[in-house]
């Protein structure tokens, strides 16, 4: 019996010592791609930090962050929670058919903030002499309600749309609900593992955009979409790290790169950034990610100029518009710190589009920048 006890104790002791040894021997990791953040590092010992408790706090978060097989531990934890019956983990619904859908309930939606952001848009649109369109794309859970767990709660998108019409007066609302609901019957309109829409989703919105603006809509096939990646595990997946997740495909439409020129924050860019397909965040394939300002010359002469104020949803959508415009400028207020009013006033745009995913729009903290006045 004594041998059994000793063996057990030895095994357990080794098990508990392994993480410590690992943290001591191996160099500290800087970055977690799955979490898209820098990891905490072990703090330097200082007596005053110990007294205030700051040292201990930092030490704990560093130990957690630097823990051996951290991602595997997350996977185990998710598997156990799923086995216990849980269907929403870390704010993500474990949906049907390997869909992972961000959970946004009515409680999460801050109504005052939404109205405030709409007012910024209204303020901006009111000062333009050209048409300003607003496209607020429903969240994945609003459209893919059949893929959510049974009776899972999402915020009421229709109520949000009703609110828009009470605040927005100077901007024309492009309502893409119907098109997305149509498109989802035959194809996949949102990624299973990511919070973005797929190319098909963007195409559905493009259809509505054309209908709204009297443009001639092309069939999907005419854009020659091709698969650029079959191993995309997106941000929503990263929150749960589920063993049973399946990767997404990324499609992109054909673009004549020789004809199109792209300037990202003053430097030469491209519509598609192949190198991003090797990284974790493969959606950044479109325009290489988010920049404060992207200027696109589509090579089509004698077409109108378009200004797009947007979040990352626009990145896969905008290429559909190339043939209708000669120049397209994309502004991401999160990274653009100059006056958008100024930009809009000086560049003779013929049309403007405000394109956001709804829950992202509601939570956005940068739309107030739309009201920054023109400098002399």
């Amino acid at each position: 019996m004594k041998v059994s006890y000793r063996m057990y104790i030895l095994v357990m002791l080794i098990l508990l010592f392994i993480p410590m040894m690992f943290a001591l021997i191996f160099p500290q990791k800087k970055y977690s791609f799955n979490e898209n953040r820098y990891l905490n590092k072990f703090p330097k010992f200082s007596f005053s930090d110990v007294i205030s408790g700051e040292f201990q706090e930092k030490f704990v978060s560093a130990y957690n962050d630097q823990f051996i097989l951290r991602d595997f531990m997350m996977e185990v934890s998710t598997a156990v929670k799923k086995a216990e019956g849980c269907r929403d983990i870390n704010g993500v619904y474990i949906g049907k058919e390997n869909y992972y859908i961000t959970k946004v309930t009515d409680r999460d939606v801050k109504r005052e903030k939404f109205i405030g952001n709409l007012r910024y848009v209204e303020y901006f649109a009111d000062r333009q002499e050209v048409p300003v369109y607003t496209m607020l794309v429903p969240s994945a859970g609003n459209i893919l309600n059949d893929k959510l767990p049974l009776m899972a709660q999402m915020y009421n998108i229709d109520e949000m749309y009703n609110t828009i019409s009470t605040v927005l007066d100077s901007s024309d609302l492009i309502d893409v609900r119907e098109e997305l609901n149509q498109q989802k019957i035959s194809t996949q309109v949102y990624f299973k593992t990511d919070h973005h829409w797929t190319l098909q989703g963007a195409y559905a919105a493009y259809g509505r955009f054309c209908l709204n603006n009297g443009l001639r809509k092309h069939s999907y096939g005419l854009f020659s979409p091709r698969k650029v990646s079959g191993s995309f595990y997106g941000t929503v997946y990263s929150k749960v790290l589920d063993f049973s997740a399946k990767p997404d495909n990324i499609y992109a439409i054909a673009v004549n790169e020789e004809q199109v020129s792209v300037i990202c924050d003053g430097e030469k860019g491209s519509v598609y950034d192949e190198s991003k397909l090797e990284t974790k965040d493969k959606y950044a394939y479109f325009f290489g990610g988010n920049y404060g300002r992207v200027d696109i010359k589509t090579g089509n002469k004698d077409k109108p100029k378009l200004l797009v104020i947007k979040d990352s949803y626009a990145n896969s959508f905008v290429p559909f518009l190339f043939e209708y415009y000669s120049e397209i400028t994309m502004i991401d207020p999160r990274y653009y710190n100059e006056s958008v009013l100024d930009l809009a006033g000086k560049n003779n745009y013929n049309e403007m589009l405000i394109l956001y995913e709804m829950s992202n729009f509601i939570e956005d903290n940068n739309l107030s920048k739309l009201t920054i006045e023109i400098k002399n």
């Binding site: 000793r6 095994v11 098990l15 508990l16 823990f67 185990v76 216990e84 929403d88 009776m151």
Partner: protein, 481 residues
Amino acid sequence: MVFSSIVFLCGFMPIVFLLYYFCPSGYRNILLLIASLIFYAWGEPCYIFIMLFSTVFDYCNGRLISTFKSKRKYKSAKFVLILSVVGNLTILGVFKYIDLIIGTLNILRLDEISPLNIALPLGISFYTFQTMSYTIDVYKGRVAAQKSIIDFGTYVCMFPQLIAGPIVRYGHVAKDLHKRTFTEQNLALGFQRFVMGLGKKVILANQVGDIWKDISQTSASDISISLAWLGALCYTFQIYFDFSGYSDMAIGMGQMLGFDFPENFDHPYLSKSITEFWKRWHISLGTWFKEYVYIPLGGNRCGIVRQVINLFVVWCLTGLWHGAAWSFLLWGIYFFVLVYIEKWFMLDFLKKFPKIFSHVYAMFFVIIGWVIFSHEDFSGLIDYVKALFGVGVPIINNVAVYKWYTSIVLLIILGFASTGFPKRIVFKLEAVFAAKYPAVDEDYGEKIHFWIVSVYSFFVLIVSLSMIVSGSYNPFLYFRF
């Protein structure tokens, strides 16, 4: 430091036990004391002085009482005892209850004082009760005064039971403090017990706690009767698995060190009455109040009126011990009423019905008790109770359906785990193995039993570590007390 943290599990604990194992037995108490002080100082570097004061204060009081008694100066001994009790209660009063008193005075408009906002020192409710019981026991002659400040300090500050009990009375460990046997068996079995407690806390209590947290924050328009009951049920399980898990960890580590701590829980949710429930729930606290409040007040020996008053006092104090808010007093009085009714006629009445009826009766009132316990504000409590009994809310709604079917598996596991069945399964497995492979040596059955639990505990530990790493914020429920 909390037990269910990476720093404790993969740092403090293995290091301390390794050192302890190789430490000569004469130095083990001082090692344990230093380790305990580091354990405490990790989370509360400044409050450690309150605990040290409390330790030294009652060490001196114990010595003084014993000296006065040996010189037959009983009045002086009694004076020191009163000094000790008043001192301890003052510490507790200042650090735990002062803001409650200030707040109440302000509400009554007797005075305008701003609250002091003193953070509650960890474990203060537990260690003041332990040191108080020590001086009382020395005065009563139940135990001899401890001569070594190291040994006494080890008793007060010992990290396994420092923060959330069980409340170990000095007499219970006096012998072990002086001399204890440290065996591989205790180390192995104690560790198994520890891991089971860890699993209860991390794999079960934390998960069901998340469901309760979500439900308790549901907006009024989304609440329904079935959702309210689900929430109450989740909280009922959370608090049991949280607290009993903590006690298991403490008792397990005590055993690893060679101490024999008292049991704190005995399947309380199998009770058939509220009286029985309180004999199975937080046993060490119930015993403490009985020994040091109820019996000294006269217990049931001074007539029925005094007995009722004594009971009332004990339950009020029990309530307030759990937290510095009047809702806890209400909670205590709630149980006073129930226990008194049971004493009066209910227990006899229940005997006439099938057992299942008694179980349902007891659990119903236990659950309502936890609902009171979980609400510090009265208006919130009233709203929740209204929802439980369907005042102005629907029977069922979408949120409730979703919550029920996503928590039912966990609830079944919890219900199962709060009975004695899991233990029986191990014995069953043992029998199956024994039948398949005939015995080769004497302790064969014991060995099989040990290895079944060992393999199980290995996986529980891995899963627990995973869940701790995956969620960084992990406070214990009982830290509020």
